[in-house]
Symmetry: C2
Subunit: 534 residues, 2 copies
């Protein structure tokens, strides 16, 4: 054997060890199974997407845009949104069947302009502010809304007139019409309201660029929305719009979280008198209406249903939590097909840790078991950058309490044993890429720990969290940000996550089988379309 | 048993499972051993540091400072440096014995003002720029330096006069004296030079805030430095200052990387005629001088020595690499105690991947083995945010080629199998927190993957990489940024990493034993001092 031949053998032996090492390193990945048995069309579609991604990495992202410097694939969403919209990759991803949406707070899902359009239809709605609105304070002084009985006397007045007494409720239309023309008049009023409900790039990446500050801004957006959302006529229209928008984005099943901290919603009569069971009845009615509408359009296969994750907020005491768990159980008994699970939400970095709720949550689990209910905990945990802080430690409690999935689980990548548990016990993470970035857990997608989760073999359902606050409607933007920022993950990886979102939903076995079969059918239609671009 | 008692038992059982789970999750951590047998003083010192850290998280970091908004522990170093300097935590960390410095590029280690002071002492030095310097272009037009033989004719002139012909070499002092008073005269000249050698906050966090752009700025700082560094009189003084500064920061052993891409250094005669073996001889002489000086001061226990990691650059061809590996072997044979290993450096995201050098690197390993030399590869790999890009994939090759340690290894956290290999085969990571942050691999320390590496049980040696470019002299700032951003890691974790830096150095067994014994002695002295603050 010549010396040259010997050297070549050494290299070949090296390369075969290299191939084996890469495969071993990626052995846990859940997209392996699909990748091992690709159809010809799937192979072609995957190649098309990778080719477009590579081309746009240079043609779109490797340069400067008007008013956007420092562009790169997976960069800050709020800055990049207009650029993303124009990419071919986004146009493709938009059409993909997404499976289930497993993590979204219902009151932050519908486009704020649509919500505002709804609000303007109801003369019951009133608005107030803490003080007279001026050019100087309008970005920091928030509107609050509530319905008032139409019979109640209301004040005339304007937020922008010196005589306004802080916190006085004004009829919405009257306040809007009287808004100072120097501040834009009614249009200025609309802008003031809409700005209060969303996060803009300057806030996320400038003035509020710490987790604590952006959470303050984030929570403030709910202050304006809440009085509109918890008004029964709007609630029903809101749910309707949420489901339709989601379906149009290729989502066929949803498990939104609804916050039940308020014990009553406002009714059309302006009184706070609508109990929780009515919320569920309304939700159920809307789901049925949409199913009927879709059926009449021959689109019934696009939507298999929706359930609700009952949530309350991590500010209450352990004793108070018992009221909510009992309420949730009562609702589950009346609407077994509607209640998916139970959660407690809030900024984990400042809210009470799960550890504070051990007693009522363990009691809840026993009660649920005794009653033979299918009512799992589906807990937020680890939505944090801390290393061993209380939010990070929530992961231990969520898993010990038997959470069905983990909301976010962002910091789980620090925990070898907890990742192993999720992998072996099939506990999926509800990962919200754009939310994580705007709430400053990661500065961009290339810094996001999702590749770690995938390589550790943890099931992942990509989720949108609060799409209307982020201006990232549907799931397409989240899917896009994931695929654009990796060279390992591709279209098949997204497919695996989409399918897993159904697999790890709380649909019962029959429903799940049907939902997955329908998804697979749409997936192959989508693949045909993408492959044809080759 | 009462119901209350039963409930209490359930909670106690839960809490004991929780304690066990946390312990299992952290079972790989290398600080466990030390934590399991703390002295009373160590326990007290750990408590002191945690208390100060918690207090300063509020008193220092949880607010606004003059000109610094958005403060938080572990925030961007360049913005925070002046605040860090004033903290009690930093004052404590500064005094800690750091062990070894295993990852630093020698030409980016010594304070630039000191270097500039040296440069001004040598009339051989000349300077040029690509064009006339104006207020508008001075931040983007870089000075270059080189010695010229004193006998050679040199031009008069000024960079700031219209007559300057781009790229003409001017005597340093003359160019400095003639610098336009409108641009600050000689002081303005000094500022122009120094600014060209460092990265400022506006560059890192504003104009150059992508990895590609900040690397361009980063590499440009070497353009100005290089003509000074590779000038033998300065080189010797530079090495001397590097060792002294490091020793003063509590570092007792160093393995700096020296770039041997230039085959000759400039001599005092202004000719480019100083071969590699002379560089090593000079390095050796300086080490001996310092040992003698320290001994005369009774400080000989503060310094056990220094070796060099021979590096060339990942732009050369595989064929060219063979020249350098042979050169390294020749030097190792002449200076066995001085050469620690071999590496090839550069921005992994754009430079050639290790895969391109398989043939010469495998040949090098065979040669080294045949010759019976102790000359390991100590390769940069994974200094990237890509997921499966060539820089990320370098990790596979570094490990397959049997790298002794990994330079950076930032992206290894994505790779379950590679982390297992490092843990089981004791392959340490040279982790450079501040470098990673300024080069935009992470936006802040809370986003840094170090906690993942530690929880996976991978040995870590904290390193400074290019401290003089970052204005982060010594290792204290890196140690500080690590401890301030965690609630799991504490002083004992830093101790573990400091000790590991010696453990995973290339010191031979006897030297290592002595170095560790000396470190332990200084550690306990330090612990006494910190404990006394309680």
């Amino acid at each position: 054997m010549s010396q040259h031949q010997q050297a070549q053998d050494v290299v070949e032996e090296y390369l075969s060890r290299r191939t084996a090492l890469v495969a071993t390193d990626r052995a846990f990945r859940r997209d392996n199974e699909r990748l091992a048995s690709l159809t010809v069309k799937e192979r072609a579609a995957e190649a098309v997407v990778r080719k477009i991604r590579a081309a746009e990495a240079i043609s779109v992202w490797d340069g400067e845009h008007d008013d956007i410097h420092n562009t790169f694939p997976g960069m800050e969403f709020l800055t990049a949104k207009n650029v993303i919209d124009k990419t071919q990759l986004f146009k493709i991803i938009s059409k993909m069947p997404k499976g289930a949406l497993l993590h979204a707070h219902l009151d932050a899902t519908v486009d704020k302009k649509y919500l505002w359009g709804l609000a303007l239809q109801y003369p019951q709605l009133h608005v107030r502010a803490a003080t007279v609105i001026t050019a100087a304070n309008r970005s920091t002084t928030l509107p609050e809304f509530r319905p008032l009985p139409l019979t109640s006397s209301t004040h005339d007045g304007s937020f922008t007139a010196a005589g306004y007494v802080g916190d006085t409720w004004l009829p919405l239309h009257q306040a809007r019409d009287a808004f100072d023309p120097a501040l834009g008049g009614p249009d200025g009023f609309d802008k003031w309201v809409l700005d209060s409900m969303i996060i803009n790039p300057a806030e996320a990446y400038g003035t509020h660029n710490t987790i604590t500050k952006i959470w303050q801004k984030f929570l403030s957006t709910f202050k304006a929305t809440t009085g509109l959302f918890y008004f029964r006529p709007i609630f029903k229209a809101y749910v309707h719009q949420f489901l339709l928008e989601s379906i149009d984005d290729g989502i066929s099943y949803m498990e939104p979280r609804i916050n039940f901290i308020h014990k009553y919603m406002y009714g059309a009569d302006g009184e706070q008198n609508v109990p929780h069971r009515q919320w569920l009845q309304d939700f159920d009615d809307v789901v049925k209406d949409i199913k009927a509408d879709l059926k009449s359009e021959g689109r019934e296969n696009e939507f298999v249903g929706a359930k609700i994750i009952y949530t309350t907020v991590r500010v209450i005491s352990a004793d108070e939590l018992e009221w909510y768990t009992e309420d949730c159980i009562t609702l589950k008994q009346e609407f077994p097909h509607l209640i998916a699970g139970f959660d407690i939400v809030g900024d984990e970095n400042v809210a009470k840790p799960l550890e504070d709720y051990i007693v009522p949550l363990l009691a809840f689990k026993r009660r649920v078991e005794d009653l033979g209910l299918e009512l799992p905990l589906i807990l937020h945990a680890g939505e944090t950058l801390t290393d061993g802080g209380m939010a990070d430690n929530n992961l231990y409690d969520a898993l010990l309490m038997g959470t069905r999935r983990i909301g976010h689980g962002f910091s789980i990548v620090k925990h070898p044993k907890l990742m192993e548990i999720c992998r072996e016990q099939n506990i999926a993470l509800e990962v919200c890429p754009i939310s994580n970035e705007i709430l400053r857990l990661t500065s961009s997608m290339p810094m996001h720990p999702l590749p770690i989760m995938l390589n550790q073999g943890i099931p992942v359902a990509l989720s949108s969290d609060d799409p209307s606050v982020f201006g990232a409607m549907g799931l397409s933007y989240d899917f896009f940000q994931v695929i654009v920022a990796s060279e390992v993950s591709g279209l098949i990886t997204l497919a695996t996550m989409a399918r897993d979102s159904l697999e790890f939903s709380t649909l019962d076995a029959d429903e799940k089988e049907r939902a997955i079969a329908l998804w697979e059918r749409r997936w192959y239609e989508f693949v045909d379309e993408v492959a044809s671009l080759a």
